[in-house]
């Protein structure tokens, strides 16, 4: 459905993506993981047209969208939830959702989708007349998610949707992504919480300093020791906190405390 071929992109003199190939099939959830500054967000921004690729080709359902403007890309149903929430701070929650349904293809179903959003995030309903800028971090994240739902996505691109969410809300978002999949929406997911992402996805890409270094099914990625070490290797807080393993030495490249 979505195919990136040899795409390179960057900001001015900085090249953030080098010859990236990504494929997402109709109806699947694909995950893109990588450490800080690897170029995940840039990849999404390139697809949605905010960043112009310097080389390569982007295809959506067989049509080249490389040179389209973001507005035109939205028209084709590619909806991008940007990193860091980016709600419209001086519009109310309700108005934010209205903007989500701005494109003509979404306008018709505006009211029923809004109901659906409020069902999924009752918190937003409680806050519907509040200015989005005064919401808590997590509430803004919910709003950003809901706003994307309003746009009737065909391909939904989520940039770190779990950022700043309480564990229980992370589950909620996971459920929402599942819901999208069941209704046939394709999802491209960027997450720091790699475990969550790979759990949800069928296909995964690992990106490092702008290059795709691994592309595989998510099960195989989850088992890949390299992935495990650099992205999943969470320490098991249950044991650590409970003091079961007090002498465990943590591998860390942090310098020892000298100053404080």
């Amino acid at each position: 459905m979505l195919r990136l071929e040899n795409v390179s992109a960057g900001y001015g003199a900085v090249t953030a993506l080098h010859n990236v190939d990504i494929t997402v099939e109709e109806g699947e959830v694909a995950a893109l993981i990588g450490s800080n500054g690897a170029g995940k967000s840039t990849a999404l921004r390139t697809i949605s047209g905010l960043v112009r690729p310097t080389a390569g080709k982007i295809e959506f359902r067989g049509e080249a969208i490389t040179d389209l403007s973001p507005e035109q890309i939205v028209e084709r149903g590619i909806i991008h939830v940007p990193e860091g929430r980016h709600v419209f701070p001086r519009l109310s929650v309700h108005q934010n959702l209205t903007v989500g349904a701005y494109s003509p293809r979404a306008r018709a179903k505006k009211n029923e989708t809004r109901e659906r959003v409020f069902e999924l995030f009752p918190r937003l309903y409680e806050r519907r007349l509040q200015l989005a800028g005064s919401l808590s971090g997590g509430e803004q994240q919910m709003l950003a998610f809901g706003r994307a739902m309003m746009a009737q996505p065909v391909l939904l691109m989520l940039d770190e949707p779990s950022l700043g969410l309480a564990p229980i809300m992370v589950e909620e978002v996971a459920r929402a992504i599942d819901y999208f999949r069941t209704i046939g929406v394709t999802v491209l997911l960027v997450e720091q919480n790699a475990e969550l992402a790979l759990d949800l996805a069928t296909r995964g890409y690992v990106i490092e300093t702008g290059c795709i270094v691994l592309a595989d099914s998510s099960e195989r990625l989850l088992e890949n020791p390299k992935v495990w070490a650099s992205y999943l290797g969470e320490q098991d807080w249950e044991f650590e906190a409970a003091g079961h393993d007090p002498d465990r030495t943590v591998v860390s490249d942090l310098p020892v405390n000298k100053g404080v």
């Binding site: 949605s48 047209g49 905010l50 403007s69 973001p70 507005e71 939205v74 028209e75 909806i79 991008h80 940007p82 980016h86 419209f88 701070p89 001086r90 519009l91 108005q95 934010n96 209205t98 903007v99 989500g100 349904a101 701005y102 494109s103 979404a106 306008r107 200015l131 989005a132 800028g133 005064s134 706003r147 746009a151």
Partner: protein, 294 residues
């Protein structure tokens, strides 16, 4: 102060206030949709006034058409300036203060172009209204004032509804607050910006015809009016439609009444003192629209 004087002063203040409101509205809308402090908004009023007058000279048009000509003239110039100047500057990614300085430059240029085109002397506006006063509850009221108040009221009411309830109005604000994200929602930011400038310019143009017919048209009629409208917009809360409206009215009334009651020498100072005092208690104006900062 007699009752008659009071009524006259109030009405005069209201009419001037409406003019300020119309300019302030444009200023606020532009801030809302582009964050630009548009110091050339007053010049749109002047252009509207001049265009209306020129239309009259050409064809001896009736008032409504003169008003229309001024409105369209203001809108066109406003859109043109946005397209050829501010848009280019935004593409260069210069900061807002640079654009603000550019608006001052635009103001200087427009004034001087107008001076070259229409001359440096004030121009008499035709008597477009029946000059007989209307009588309301025993008070003679000049028809210009009524026109101004009614027309401005309609425009402002329409705008409030537009921004609060229509998808386009909401999208225009979204485009202002976060253009990149708005584009991700399918909003064509360039187009909403054009709409904003068109609307703002048209309102100023209409105000120009109204002001011209009340007084006269001259190449420098816009600057001071623009500055005062700016103060009015700040008073109401920059970026707020209702604020600009109320701010303009309040400022107009303060100005006439302080001239009447306090001192004509310090008339302008009174408005400023009121502004500062109000800002002390409400730092973002009467109708602030703050988000949280921490």
């Amino acid at each position: 102060m007699t009752l008659d004087q009071f009524v006259q002063t109030t009405l005069g203040g209201l009419a001037i206030g409406c003019i300020y409101s119309l300019i302030a509205l444009g200023i606020s809308m532009i801030i809302r949709s582009t964050d630009i402090l548009h110091f050339a908004q007053g010049e749109m009023l002047m252009i509207g006034s001049m265009m209306g007058l020129s239309a009259y000279w050409l064809h001896n048009l009736p008032f409504v058409l003169v008003l229309l000509a001024g409105t369209i003239g203001g809108g066109l110039i406003s859109v043109g300036i946005e397209f050829f100047i501010y848009r280019k500057l935004r593409l260069l990614r210069v900061s807002l203060i640079n654009i603000m300085i550019a608006t001052l430059g635009v103001s200087i240029v427009l004034q001087n172009v107008a001076r070259l085109v229409w001359g440096s002397e004030p121009l008499r506006y035709p008597t477009l209204f029946a000059s007989k006063g209307l009588v309301f509850a025993g008070f003679a009221v000049s028809p210009q004032l009524v026109w101004i108040v009614v027309l401005s009221g309609l425009i402002m009411g329409g705008l409030i509804i537009f921004f609060r309830y229509t998808t386009l109005g909401i999208a225009m604000q979204a485009a202002a607050q976060d253009p990149d994200t708005a584009r991700l929602m399918g909003v064509n930011v360039d187009r909403t910006t054009t709409y904003t400038f068109a609307l703002a310019g048209m309102m100023a143009g209409a105000a120009g015809v109204l002001l011209g017919s009340l007084f006269f048209a001259s190449f420098n009629m816009g600057f001071m009016t623009g500055i005062k409208a700016f103060v009015a917009a700040t008073l109401g809360g920059l970026g707020s439609v209702a604020g600009a409206m109320i701010g303009g009215l309040v400022f107009g009334i303060i100005e006439t009444f302080s001239g009447m009651l306090i001192s004509t020498a310090y008339k302008d100072a009174v408005g400023m003192v009121v502004l500062i005092v109000i800002l002390l208690f409400m730092p973002s104006g009467l109708f602030a629209r703050d988000g949280r900062s921490v």
